[in-house]
Symmetry: C2
Subunit: 204 residues, 2 copies
């Protein structure tokens, strides 16, 4: 049995559709109180957790594999394999702020849900930044004066636009990724290889 | 004008009812795209943020005051005044695990959304703990074997029960609290005192 940690929320629907396309008979029944969603015949067992928790479950070898976005992997700072990029969940991690924003003072005050990403970005640009970790509504921060700029995920750009913000720089491209525990890959190689191959077949 | 950061979610409805009871004419219109909810006559201006972000906005003097739960204040580790406990939002921060759980090995593995709380709790008991910070579904952690115990908020206890978990210890009682920025209190003393007095009148 391959244990799979699946990211709740934004990617959830796409992940199930993708697994179904790969021939797995699993359904995301939200009314069910069951913790695990299984395809007994094809031997996969899924459970849903918050996106940022997927790498935690995989790196601790509770899940053999996980499916989540690039952003969750970068922020978790754990040691996991990333054998497969999946063909959905596309978005971008960006630096955003008011149009015509210019660097006037350092440290730059940055609000973000992604402090690791933000820290690395400013360090790599040789800029001093004070990073304020927020849990939500990051686009509010420049408007109320909490931060100069934000580091956040952008899909359509609507939220930024509604708040008078623009993309100042692209930090990295985001995609859904399959992540894998190295020990699990050694101890369950046959099952995991079979699972990976079934997904590879439809990502081409 | 008193700027107020209000915790979204669990406490939101109670906060608005409470402010209305204190005579403020503000409505939480979810369809509105407005960032701020104002009572111009009585001079308050509210904005909604994630509970854990309330102390951040207050400590950075973006909001003069904030309303959130004890848990958010403990976790933020910032320096803010707590002049008033409010008569709603009651719950408890607890240590939970399987019934008959016994300490067999150290470090104890603890899953929680509240790492500061968990760290302090185990330190104060002289116990070594490995704290795994999760973003959600903490009650899943003991079931799948990620953690021995969890530190989490309990309101009714239903979630714990459904997952076969019980309360092992109460860490602290939670209530909605009014928090206050010290500098704002000095520079806007008259307005803030008036606001506090209007709330104190109905907490008795």
């Amino acid at each position: 049995m391959v244990n799979i940690a699946i990211a709740k929320g934004r990617l959830e629907k796409d992940i199930f559709e993708f697994l179904n396309k790969a021939g797995y008979r699993i359904q995301n029944n939200k009314d069910s109180r069951k913790l695990f969603i299984e395809d007994e015949e094809r031997k996969i067992k899924c459970f849903l957790v918050k996106p940022m928790d997927v790498p935690i479950y995989v790196s601790n070898n509770i899940a053999d594999v996980g499916i989540c976005g690039t952003d969750s992997i970068v922020e978790s700072e754990v040691n996991i394999l990333q054998p497969l990029k999946l063909p959905f969940g596309k978005s971008r991690m960006v630096l955003a702020g008011f149009k015509n924003w210019q660097l006037k003072r350092q440290p730059i005050v940055v609000a973000t849900k992604f402090p690791i990403t933000a820290k690395r970005y400013f360090e790599s640009h040789g800029l001093e930044a004070k990073i304020i970790k927020l849990n939500g509504s990051v686009e509010l921060a420049p408007i109320v004066g909490l931060a100069d700029v934000i580091v956040d995920i952008v899909e359509t750009g609507t939220t930024l636009k509604e708040n008078g913000l623009v993309i100042l720089d692209e930090i990295y491209k985001i995609s859904a990724m399959l992540v894998l525990n190295e020990i699990a890959y050694r101890t369950k190689r046959i099952e995991i290889t079979e699972f990976l191959d079934s997904l590879r077949g439809i990502t081409k």
